[in-house]
Amino acid sequence: MGDEYLWDGSGEPDAEVERLEKLLGRFRSEPRPVEFPAAATSPPRSGSSWERWWRVAAGAVLLLGSIWLLRALTGRAEWTIAGVEGSPRIDGKIAEQNDGWKIGQSLETDGTSRVKLRVDGLGEIEVGPNASLVLLEANAAQQQIRLARGTIRASVTAPPYVFLVRTPGAYAMDMGCAYTLQVTGAGVSILRVTVGWVDLQHGFRQSLVPAGAAAESRPAIGPGAPYFEDSSERFREALETVNFDVEDAKARSDALTILLAEARTRDAFTLLNLFRWVDADDRGRLYDRLAVLLPPPAGVTRQNAVDGEGLDPWWDKLGLGHAKKGLKGPPRVEE
């Protein structure tokens, strides 16, 4: 028998190859729907606020990276326990002050335990009760933690994108900030940023979350558009549907109607984010509501909005600043 079937599936089927294909198909890469921000399906835009934020962040990486590398060369990128309450455990053993936390080790807290960890030149994290983490990577270029459940509060002084937390729904990448990140038993993660910016990514979903805002992420879906937590309950419920009910377009569209009705001027931030998530018809509806809440700057038209282009001046008008590290000095986790 020739190898034609093995080569390109033509010719007489080879029974063993067929059987292996069937058996091993369960390990195949699942075609995860690559979800693009709606605007990203348009031709590349030069100089959009979104891309400008990235470029500013990249500039910050260069500048702060140099400073940080100098510090890293003279210090050790090792995690040390800086504070303990109760009986947190590292790889099953009770952890004590000044113990190290090494790559591959799990760290768990029970209902009455907390632990604070510190890395010179990076910052610190405080781990709340009932949490489970694993340290995946710890070097000058990358610090990476998997947070399976529980809550951490992070205060990071490393350059952007050095400190990364994996959760079931997204990667949380620090851009110079302080934040709280909670993973529920269902794998939903909730990020609340107190200083600076955090970049949430999963596949090709992305949310840049500024200080004062929050964002949820879901397993197999990724992060949703960020929001301010003082928005109305109905607004947040509707946003949840728009963000995560990926199978039901009608439910999403109905939820958008509620969301638009509930939106305040401050929620223009969420609405602008949603241009990246909804289809052309709904982008028109977003424009109409935004135009009432935050009148469009000169040059921003409804057609721009429907096309998902030319919204930069509206972003600037929000006045949230850019994803730039160090604007407010070294971040610090609230005690």
């Binding site: 390109d8 058996l23 690559v34 031709p43 790559i103 799990s106 994108y161 994996r166």
Partner: protein, 179 residues
Amino acid sequence: MPADHFVGDFSQDAQLVHAARGGDRAAFGELYERYGRMVHGVLLAHVPYAEVADLVQDVFLVALSHLDSLREPTAFAGWLLAIARNRANDFHRRPRAAEEIQDLAGTSDPDEQEARAALAAIQSLPETYRETLSLRLVEGMTGPEIAARTGMTPASVRVNLHRGMKQLREKLGKSANHG
């Protein structure tokens, strides 16, 4: 399907790389769609199945953040493969918590057991054979597709498939005899 069918794909890669460098995330998304399966198959040839999805994300994350350092955009596929293999090596270099090693967990499903044994047998083959067989038997890519995506010559892919399959049959035959 003739291998030449895919000639020209690398120039398309270059266009996508240029666009992605300019901030076009849809272009990078297309690169992800073109190469996600290849990266998955290559990683699966080296690391436990439970780790592969996360590592695929890692590989594309690294690629996205280092796209400007790629000197020759037509070499994107080879560059991406190198990142994938480096990430697989990194995985084996670091100690792992027990919770990460899930592939060793028991199962009572005979098909699942057989599938795991077959995957383990592929992972025990020499690197060149295991990657090619993983792409063919797991990811369902044809030989010409593997050649086009990895940049290997069709002749090399054909040889790897032939020799790798021969070794795989021997391994599976032995394990069946010992079972």
